[in-house]
Symmetry: C2
Subunit: 292 residues, 2 copies
Amino acid sequence: MTDPFEDQKARASAWFHSLRDEIVTAFESLEQTHITGPLADRPAGRFDVSPTRRDTGGGGVMSVMRGGRVFEKVGVNISTVYGELSPAAQSAMAARRGLPGMADDPRFWASGISLVAHMQNPHTPAVHMNTRMFWTPHGWWFGGGSDLNPCLPYDEDTAGFHATLKAHCDRHDPKYYPRFKAWADTYFYVPHRGRARGVGGIFFDDHSTGDWEADFAFTQDVGRAFLPAFLPLAERRRTTPWSEADRGAQLAHRGLYAEYNLLYDRGTKFGLETGHDPDAVLMSMPPLATWP
Amino acid sequence: MTDPFEDQKARASAWFHSLRDEIVTAFESLEQTHITGPLADRPAGRFDVSPTRRDTGGGGVMSVMRGGRVFEKVGVNISTVYGELSPAAQSAMAARRGLPGMADDPRFWASGISLVAHMQNPHTPAVHMNTRMFWTPHGWWFGGGSDLNPCLPYDEDTAGFHATLKAHCDRHDPKYYPRFKAWADTYFYVPHRGRARGVGGIFFDDHSTGDWEADFAFTQDVGRAFLPAFLPLAERRRTTPWSEADRGAQLAHRGLYAEYNLLYDRGTKFGLETGHDPDAVLMSMPPLATWP
């Protein structure tokens, strides 16, 4: 049976792969160029790369760097998975998107990149970026986002991050940035704490205008925005000394991040429910976190 | 309007209160009698006690000890809450118990005690105990359980813990222990990791035989079993020295505990969804946890 979407799927998964390569290279370079300031005397961090497997179809590549000069732990996962959605996943999707026919033909295909970085320096925010393409016989869509999670926020860093995301969104539609920024404010909100998990960014899901090329190009640009949004602030903060109190604030903020990730994050739920490698799905968890 | 259940509610909440007093006293005594071995030179831990509030009805008492000789962090919460169940909580309950009329009259009342202890010594298991009474105009029930979470398991400790739970269950019905042990094995299973979170114990919910006195007496005995089940093993292990590798195993095991707690625990979900004080609901979180 020919798959009329074969070409789009191949292009999407190849793009996520190349974006991964670009980010991994840039992060290793950030490690190597950190030659003065805190932790500059330890070996530059390198990514460990390992394949991941989903028992019922597909897999990916997990790249993790631990204990570097700049990154305490950063994971960059790419995966392409397929098979049939479980009844639970079908109803979650149907509730959100109203896809008739899902129960009769529950096939799906999904490919994406997902990144979470927990930094050594409490002055540098933790950061998350994720983009993905989802396909079913009943429709396709893109989703993703990027958000900044400082425990010690700097207005300059927040403004720069948002400005870069906005510039990349504006190439596609001036309505995208305000809409997807507002969506991030809603999505990255921690209801039981009554607060945002960080200083926001953008979030979009179920993005399907009918024009696959345009939506793919937008999704690519969200990925392309990541390094220019994050690297300048990471370079600016990596030499700032920190106190024990700063470290304490960072570990407590990671507790909040872990709560969000396990209680509310869609990608985590989807990954665990669909039987993807738990170590890959939970690569986003902080290396060390505290609770009061 | 007289509440025909007023007396039972008062007796249940008074019982949870007195059980809390008994446990808090025993735990402070365990601190004071730890006079040789690791950390015996630090001040004996004491509980900090504070009231907790649920904005839409009720509250409780949170008792937390941190950084003691034996306990790294232990929380003992009691609460009595009431009001109306949210539509989400109604449907969760209806799905589980099939309570017709919940939507027409969504009032509820719940009272209980909940305890989680994270120990200093990696040779002593983390432990959880919880019992509660739930009332709606459409029915009442009890729930609870207790389970042991060692990172370095000792067969002797596991056997003693289970034997004490069994003896207390057997006073009521010889079928209870095997049934509720099996339920704990199912309930405290971490599906995404394909493993149990610990070495089990007992778990029961929706327990309502029709005889309130009998079900309350059973629930009291589950609470009464806790100290004789846990104290002997805590006394046995508290002087065992530990290595850095033991501490590493403990922190990693706490990561698993945190995952379970945020992803699957019913009490956590119920507490957060019904708007109880998040610091009280999440008092069960480990003081420090790691992820690989």
